[in-house]
């Protein structure tokens, strides 16, 4: 499955590269549509593989009591954990790209920008965050010891690792919040990609007003999704990290920063026709995306309760 998944991602990236090049020339509109559908369809197929893989985990890897063989629980893992989240974000952004390509097909700068950003996301996923290579490495590392102990026929050893697995299954993998908090945030990230491109277009000459409309159209949706996503993280944090210092965790700090930046962008836009405010709005739209990227990277760079680095 890993090899097929990677091949699908290569097809998606290649389609995206061809699409971005053709967008820049402004030619071959029909071919561009096919390429866009090809890239998005490939991502959808890759996402389908991930869902299938998770269903297999649900069916084949239940947590069983090593003493009596009774099933204690089954994993219901959402398809946006570990490296899969970049696939989910890319899939969301590819839908945004389809909408913008169809609606603003004559705005060459904007559609080129959107398609280049799609390629950037795909390339980063393929070379640095491939969800298929390997598949769920952290989950695998967590469960392998228990599976080995279970197969060795030593119930005491298996029972020792089982307690931690049950806690993480209920509090993290199977949590209801896992189905609301992360997807809302990634939906907002996908929409904010369009805000970035629209804000860049605002600084140009030919497509400034369309750029502002695109930036705001997706920015307002993204802000609602971001706010709701962050709010839904709050009761989850209270449950999952009870008794721990999570409030000033670096990821949460950066998420507050990101929210403040996008709030500032939306407020600045109210005064966009005043002197210098047009440029300030555009710069805020661009820098907010910079904060978004830093927020995403915080998980990998700075230790914390939300991070994958020690």
């Amino acid at each position: 499955m890993g090899t097929i998944g990677t091949l699908i991602l290569i097809v998606a990236t290649a389609s995206g590269v061809a699409l971005a090049i053709l967008s820049a020339t402004g030619k071959a509109e029909t071919l561009r549509t096919y390429l866009l559908v090809g890239a998005s369809g490939s991502l959808l197929l890759a996402f389908g593989f991930i869902i299938y893989f998770h269903l297999q985990i649900n069916t084949l890897l239940p947590l069983v009591n090593p003493f009596d063989g009774q099933i204690i629980g089954t994993y219901k893992i959402p398809p946006w954990i570990e490296e899969e989240k970049l696939l989910f974000w890319s899939l969301g952004f590819s839908l945004v790209a389809i909408a913008i390509n169809l609606r603003h097909s004559t705005q060459r700068m904007i559609i080129t920008g959107v398609n280049v950003l799609l390629v950037a996301l795909l390339a980063i996923m393929l070379f640095a965050s491939n969800p298929f290579h390997p598949l769920l490495p952290n989950f695998h590392a967590e469960i392998i010891g228990y599976q080995q102990a279970l197969m060795s026929g030593d119930p005491n050893a298996a029972f020792g690792t089982l307690q931690g697995l049950i806690g993480k299954m209920m509090g993290f993998y199977n949590s209801t919040y896992m189905w609301t908090h992360p997807p809302l945030l990634f939906a907002s990230y996908a929409a904010f990609g369009a805000t970035l491109i629209g804000s860049i277009a605002m600084l140009g000459r030919s497509e400034r007003s369309v750029g502002d409309a695109v930036a705001y159209d997706y920015g307002r949706f993204g802000f609602i999704a971001l706010t709701l996503g962050l709010l839904l993280g709050y009761p989850w944090a209270l449950l999952a990290w009870e008794g721990q210092s999570w409030w000033w965790d670096p990821k949460i700090n950066m998420a507050i920063m990101m929210w403040v930046f996008y709030a500032a962008y939306l407020h600045a836009r109210l005064y966009k026709h005043r002197p210098t405010m047009w440029t300030a709005t555009a710069i805020l739209g661009i820098s907010s995306f910079g904060v978004l990227v830093l927020t995403y990277l915080t998980t990998y760079l700075i230790p914390g309760i939300h991070s994958v680095v020690g």
Binding site: L238, V260, T298, I302
Partner: protein, 215 residues
Amino acid sequence: MKKYDIGLIVVTVVVLAALGVLALGGTLYVWWASDVPGGFPGSLEYEEYAAVMNRSSLPLFIALVLSLVLCIPKRIIRRAHLVWVTLGIFLVSAAVSIIADPLLGASVMFLTAIAIQAAVIVMTLVGSKSLNFQTEGFFSQLGSGLLHLGTVLFLYDVLLLSTSSISHSLIFWSATFLITSGMILSFYQKELSRLFVFTREVQEPQTEDPKPERD
């Protein structure tokens, strides 16, 4: 009233920006201090860092709450009385805090703000002309009202949670619903207005003969 409005917006933006800077500072500090043996999260140093962040952010959160409490009565109360009413709310809250309990004092302030904001929403719904809004349009004003009420409720929930989690669920989900619906109404007011006009036109077809169109 306009100067008062702009002043409050500026104060809110400055407080939010300061919170943003504090959050960035905290993140950079954690990055710098992350080579603590045994890991920074969960260490004694982390607890000290969290305590410093709590102390530093407290005045900012108080300022945020105060700006909200100042913002809410202005919709309903005329400017001549606004300062006195706001001062009255603060004095009663301060007196209760000193005499009884700081949490009770804060609750008086929050509950007054919640009651006033709920009244503003009801008045907006019935189309009262005596409300002071910066924005125009029914959906925009209703959205603003819901957003403010949701924000006050959310902050009150954060405050209450430090002592009790009994009412957390009800307050949190109410706040989340109000904030989300308030944002939807505010951001999509034009679309909603168009939809509302369209629906009204479909439901109430013209009874008079349409005027002949001019070429």
